[in-house]
């Protein structure tokens, strides 16, 4: 198996236009001269995700404390930080699972995420992989992917839905990519932990979101798989924006090595502790103390 084939798979994934997502256009660049509809993704200012002064507290404990963060369109941003720094909570805020006590969260420059419900956020193009793998346990692996497939999400559309050849190919390619081809007809609940991780990544890719949020995607993978996953993510970079949370520094290294200027963000106690290239943050005394250890 060569990286070429893999790239081919990823390319096929990209080609799939998707029937009726909120944003009908395929272009992801800045949209000069176009009237921006409210509710449409507007990347005029270059940022696809913009968090400003977000605070989340639980019974007085500030899990996120005045956090501001901005992700550019097409960027791959790595986020690291100690356990309990608020990384997962931040994703909860972006995806609508948790409502912040204060702050702003925008997708593009026009879509206020805090006003949308979870499924609306998902359908405008934000996909998420959870820290704890969550798949539809009673459905087969194939059906899991089918449901994630980019396609209109309405009741009527799903009643009328028929898989066409291209979509079938796409699922096939994905099964290949996540090494679950043999398990396509097995119920997902029977997969091993790592296999579920893969399936969830596969589902996320099937959704073809503009912004991928990945919470510890390589936990439980072998080193080799970790490398391959890094390659996969790098191949998505540019066309997609990615936010990757990981504790595996080798993986972060692999994700950042193609571009020495790529930013890594370190969260600590609910706010940004440091931001910079990997080398910079690794050299930061404070980061070493609270996170990397000696």
């Amino acid at each position: 198996m060569t990286p070429e084939l893999m790239q081919a798979g990823a390319a096929r994934l990209r080609r799939e236009p998707g029937a009726a997502a909120v944003d009908g256009s395929g272009d992801r660049g800045a949209s000069y001269g176009r009237v921006v509809q409210p509710g449409q993704l507007d990347l005029a200012h270059g940022a696809i995700l913009y968090l400003d002064d977000i605070t989340v507290s639980f019974d007085g404990f500030k899990a996120i404390n005045a956090l501001s963060l901005s992700i550019s369109a097409g960027e791959l941003r790595c986020i690291i930080g100690p356990n309990g720094a608020g990384k997962t909570t931040m994703m909860d805020v972006i995806t609508g699972k948790t409502r912040p006590d204060a702050g702003k969260a925008f997708f593009g420059s026009t879509i206020d995420l805090l006003r949308l419900r979870e499924n609306e956020i998902a359908s405008i193009g934000i996909g998420r992989k959870f820290q704890k793998p969550t798949v539809f346990e009673q459905l087969t692996v194939f059906e899991n992917l089918e449901l994630a497939l980019k396609h209109a999400r309405t009741v009527r559309a799903s009643m009328a839905f028929r898989l066409d050849g291209a979509q079938l190919d796409r699922i096939g390619a994905m099964l290949e990519l996540i090494h679950l081809k043999d398990s396509a007809q097995r119920t997902a609940g029977l997969l091993s932990h790592g296999q579920k991780q893969w399936l969830e990544i596969g589902m996320l890719l099937m959704q073809d979101p503009k912004l991928l949020l990945l919470d510890e995607p390589v936990a439980g993978m072998t080193d080799e798989e970790t490398e391959r996953t890094a390659e996969l993510f790098l191949s998505l970079e540019g066309n997609h924006s990615l936010v990757v949370i990981e504790h595996d520094m080798k993986f972060i290294h692999e994700l950042t090595q193609d571009n020495p200027a790529k930013k890594v963000t370190v969260l600590h106690e609910g706010s940004v502790l440091a931001e910079g290239t990997l080398a910079q943050v690794q050299a930061n005394e404070k980061v070493v103390e609270v996170y990397l250890g000696r």
């Binding site: 449901l147 290949e176 043999d182 007809q185 589902m203």
Partner: protein
Amino acid sequence: MSAVLPGSPARSASAGAGVAPPVTRLLSPAGWLGVFVALGLVLGVAPLLNLVVPADSAFHLSEYALLLIGKMMCYAMCALAMDLIWGYTGILSLGHGVFFALGGYVMGMYLMRQIGRDGNYKSDLPDFMVFLDWKELPWHWALSDSFVATLLLVLLVPGLLAFVFGYFAFRSRIKGVYFSIITQAVTFAAMLLFFRNETGFGGNNGFTDFKRILGIPIATPGMRMTLFAITGVTLVGFFLFARWLVQSKYGRVLQAIRDAESRVMFTGYDPLHYKLSIWVISAVMCAVAGALYVPQVGIINPSEMSPAASIEMAIWTAVGGRGTLIGPIIGAFFVNGAKSVLTQWVPEFWLYFLGALFILVTLFLPAGIVGLVDRLRGRKSEVRA
């Protein structure tokens, strides 16, 4: 060259190929055969045995048997409806009796009007209204003299209740047992409401002593047979409809909601719409069952809305096999058949048998009767739906 990424256990040769899509045809050939046999029984054999074969023949299908089977077919529709919402979507309703009863009441209102002046008090108004000194029909009886309106209202009234209730409940993200309990509260409240004479539905006596439907006397073999046949066809129709639903991607979204609703949301589906639609569909199916039940059984009263009546629907479904479509139908026939037989054979002890049956089914047939059949046939779990 066997895998996309190193370390993959995948063994197949090329990408894209060799992946079978899920079964998309509505029924297997055997399934279709079963459907046609069922239709044949309902439309051919039963009328023959009931109307043509003489009453003293051993093959005569008695009116009692007809009633019994007709009733069980109505119950089977309820169980099917229950299965769509519970078995497939994972929402346990303990209040489906209210939809069944509402369908029945709408039909009952029409049948009451059909009595005309043949009642005890020789009035245009139903007897109980005369008795309550009401001088004219209350507003909610306005359309009850039209058969067409009745048919529409059978769908609309329960459908609307289900829609309004479901909309608020699902929008508030009421789930699991919280949902179950409020559905129970709804049916319980409805029962108390209908018990009141002032509500205008005949109090606890409800409606009975029907005489005609569409001007044709009800208590004739021909009319009975017609109702029976319509019920049978409706049941088969509901089965095919349900089958189509659960085979579609829609059905898989429902099952996904059952497994992990939040994941469904994060995948971009709005569970509200899905849950609401299946909830209303299920309620309307129950209502249709109720409407068919009333002219056959000859009475509708608020006890159909008692919490226990709704729980029983869940029980038929579970006994037959939740999450399959034929299961609930079998369950409804099996449990009610057992009830009818046992209350006659061992009137004082039948509850022991029925109780034991429920216990044994849960302990030894976790997938219901259908699960047992599957197991005996040695089939695996991959055949679902």
